[in-house]
C-alpha cells in the first residue's frame, strides 16, 4: 500500500494522502499489536514448561515411580502410590461415567428434537460449567456422608460426575456426524433400531467417541478440587474402594503449599509427570481425531 509506487497522481491532494498514510500506519500498528497479543499468550506456556523441566526433571528417577512418599526431613521417596491412585480413580470414573455418557449421547443424537432431549442437552451443558469444587462438595454430601468416610469410591464418583457431561456432548456430536445413509442402509437390510445403532452407527463413530473419552479422561486426571473431600489422599498404598486414596494432583497441592524445599522439588517432579500424562493422552486423541467424519 505504498502511495509512492503509484507515481504522482494528477490531482494530488496532500491532505488525502496524509490521511491514507495515517490509516496505513494505524493499520500496521494494530496488526502488529495483535501479533504482540499472540506472543504474550504463548510466553506463559513456554515459561511453565521451562520451569517444569528445570525444576522437575532433576527429581525424576526410578524411586519416584516405585517408592512411597518419604516422611518430612527424610530425603528421597517417591509418588508411586499417588500414580497408582490417579490410575484407579480415572479408571473407576471411566467405568462409571462412560457407559452413562455414551448412552445419553446416543440418546441425544437419536432423539434429537424431543423435549426430553432438549432438557438433557441443556443439563449437560450446564453441568459442564459447574465448578469442580462444587462437584467435590456434592459428592462429599452424598457419598462420603453416606459411607461415613473418604474413599476411592467417592473420588471415582466425583470424577465421573465431571466426565459425564463432557463425554455426553462429544458422543452426541460424533454420532451425528455418521452419514445418514449408513443408518438407512441398516434399516433397509431389516435391522432393528438397536442393532443399527450398536452394529453400524457406533462402530462408525468409534474413533470420534474414543477421542472425546480420552480428552475427558485427560482432563479429570488433572483435577484436584473434586478429590479434596472425596479421595482425600493417603500416604500409603491403597486400592480398596472404601479407603481414602492418594492422587497425583492432591500430592502436588499438598507439597506445593508445604514449607519444605524437598517437597517443593517433588511437587515440580510430580507436576512434570502429570503434565506428561495429560499431554500424552491429549496428543494421542489428536491423532485419533484425524478421521474422515471429523469436520465442524
Amino acid at each position: 500500500m505504498n502511495t509512492s509506487t503509484l507515481g504522482r497522481p494528477v490531482d494530488t491532494d496532500e491532505k488525502a494522502s496524509a490521511l491514507r498514510r495515517r490509516r496505513n500506519r494505524f493499520n500496521r500498528i494494530m496488526l502488529t499489536l495483535t501479533g504482540v497479543c499472540a506472543v504474550v499468550v504463548v510466553v506463559p506456556l513456554l515459561l511453565i514448561f521451562y520451569y517444569l523441566m528445570v525444576a522437575g526433571a532433576g527429581s525424576i528417577n526410578l524411586d519416584f515411580f516405585t517408592q512411597l512418599p518419604a516422611p518430612v526431613g527424610e530425603p528421597g521417596g517417591g509418588m508411586a502410590n499417588a500414580l497408582l491412585g490417579t490410575m484407579f480413580l480415572v479408571l473407576l470414573a471411566g467405568a462409571i461415567g462412560i457407559p452413562i455418557a455414551v448412552g445419553a449421547g446416543v440418546f441425544l443424537a437419536e432423539d434429537g428434537r424431543s423435549p426430553l432431549a432438549t432438557v438433557v442437552r441443556f443439563t449437560a451443558d450446564v453441568m459442564n460449567g459447574i465448578p469442580s469444587i462444587v462437584v467435590g462438595i456434592f459428592v462429599w454430601a452424598w457419598v462420603v456422608v453416606w459411607m461415613g468416610r473418604f474413599s476411592l469410591l467417592a473420588g471415582g464418583i466425583a470424577l465421573a460426575v465431571m466426565l459425564i457431561p463432557m463425554v455426553t456432548r462429544t458422543t452426541e456430536e460424533m454420532v451425528r456426524l455418521v452419514p445418514k445413509e449408513l443408518r438407512e442402509g441398516g434399516v433397509a437390510l431389516g435391522f432393528t433400531r438397536w442393532r443399527t445403532t450398536l452394529g453400524i452407527v457406533l462402530p462408525a463413530a468409534r474413533s470420534g467417541i474414543l477421542t472425546g473419552v480420552l480428552v475427558a479422561l485427560a482432563r479429570i486426571a488433572g483435577e484436584t478440587a473434586p478429590l479434596l473431600f472425596t479421595a482425600f489422599g493417603n500416604p500409603f498404598w491403597e486400592w480398596r474402594l472404601n479407603e481414602p486414596i492418594s492422587a497425583l494432583p492432591l500430592l502436588i497441592y499438598q507439597y506445593a503449599i508445604s514449607p519444605y524445599d524437598e517437597w517443593h522439588r517433588l511437587a515440580w517432579a510430580a507436576a512434570l509427570v502429570l503434565i506428561g500424562l495429560v499431554l500424552a493422552v491429549s496428543l494421542a486423541s489428536r491423532f485419533l481425531i484425524r478421521n474422515p467424519y471429523r469436520q465442524r
Binding site: 457407559p99 462438595i137 432393528t192 438397536w194 488433572g222 494432583p249 502436588i252 503434565i275
Partner: protein, 341 residues
Amino acid sequence: MNPKADPPVGIPEATPASVSAPPGGPGPFRRLFPSRQRGNVQDQVYGFALKGFGILLPVLFLFMVHRIGTSAWPAIQTFGWGFITSQEWNPVLRDFGALPFIFGTIVSSFLALAIAVPLAVGLAIFLTELAPRWLAGPVAFATELLAAIPSVVYGLWGIFVLVPFLRFTIQEPLSRRFGDTIPFFEGPAYGFSMMSGAVILSIMIIPFISAVTREVLVAVPREQREAALALGATRWEMTWQVALPYAAPGIMGGAILGLGRALGETMAITMVIGNRPDISASLFAPGYTMASVLANEFTEATGALYLSALMEIALLLFGITILVNIAAQFLVWRVSRRGGS
C-alpha cells in the same frame, strides 16, 4: 445395554407398521402396547434404556441441587440475607458472612476478564486475519495446550514463579511510587494478592475466549469482508469495523464463558491469592474467593453451622456459575444460528 438381547442370528424380523406380527413374535407385548406399532419390543426396550441414560443427567443435576441445598438450609435459615451482606467470618463465634468471598470471587474474575479479553481477541484476530498458515497452526496448538494444563500445575507455577515476579518487579516499584496516591496500589506488596489471582486466572481463561472468538470470526461471511476491502478499508479497518461488530455477540458469549470458568476456578487461585477474608481496594492485598474458602476450610469445618455456612457458599457459587453459563450459551447459540442460516 439391552436386557432382552437375544436377537435371531441372520436377518432380524422386519416389522413395519403395515406388516402383521410375525408368527411367534412379540404378540402379547404388541397387544399390551397397541399404539406403539413402529418397531418391535426389542426396540422399545432399547428406546427406554436410552431414555433412561438420558434422564440420568437431569436427575443427577437435581439431586445435586437438592443435596447441597438441604445441607445449606440451616445456614440460610440462621443468617437469611445477612449471609451475603455481612463481612464477618468468624468460625469461633459462629458468625458467618460471605461478603469477602463474594467480593474476592467477583473482583478477581472481572479483573481476569479485563486482562484476558483484549489479549484473547487480539490473538484470535492474529490467527484468523494475519498469521500465515505455518505460524497459525502452532500458535493455535499452543493456546490449546494452555487449556490442557491442570489447575494445580498453574498454582504450583504461580507460587514459585509468578508471585515472586509480580511482587518484586511490578508490585514493589508501583507501591513505592504510587502507594500513597492511588488506592489500588496501596499497602505492602505481599505477592500473594488479588493481582496474582487475577493474572493466573486470565492465563487460564484466555484459551477458552480466544477459541470462541476465532470460531465466530471465521463465521463472518466472506462477502462482508470483501465488501469492506473493496470500499478501500485497510485490513485493520475491515477487522475492526466489519468483522468484529458482526462477531461481537459471540465474543461476548466467549467472554462470559471465560467468566464462568474464572468464577469457579479453585486450585490455582487458592494457591496464589493469599486467602485472607478482607475487602481491600488494593490489588496488592491478599483476598479470598468462594471456591478457595471451600477448598481450605471444608475439611476442617467443625460444627454443623460452620459446615452449613460453607455449603451455602457452595450453593451460591453453584447458582452464579449456572446463570453465567446459561447466559453465555444463549449468546453463542444466537450467533452460531445466525452464522448457519
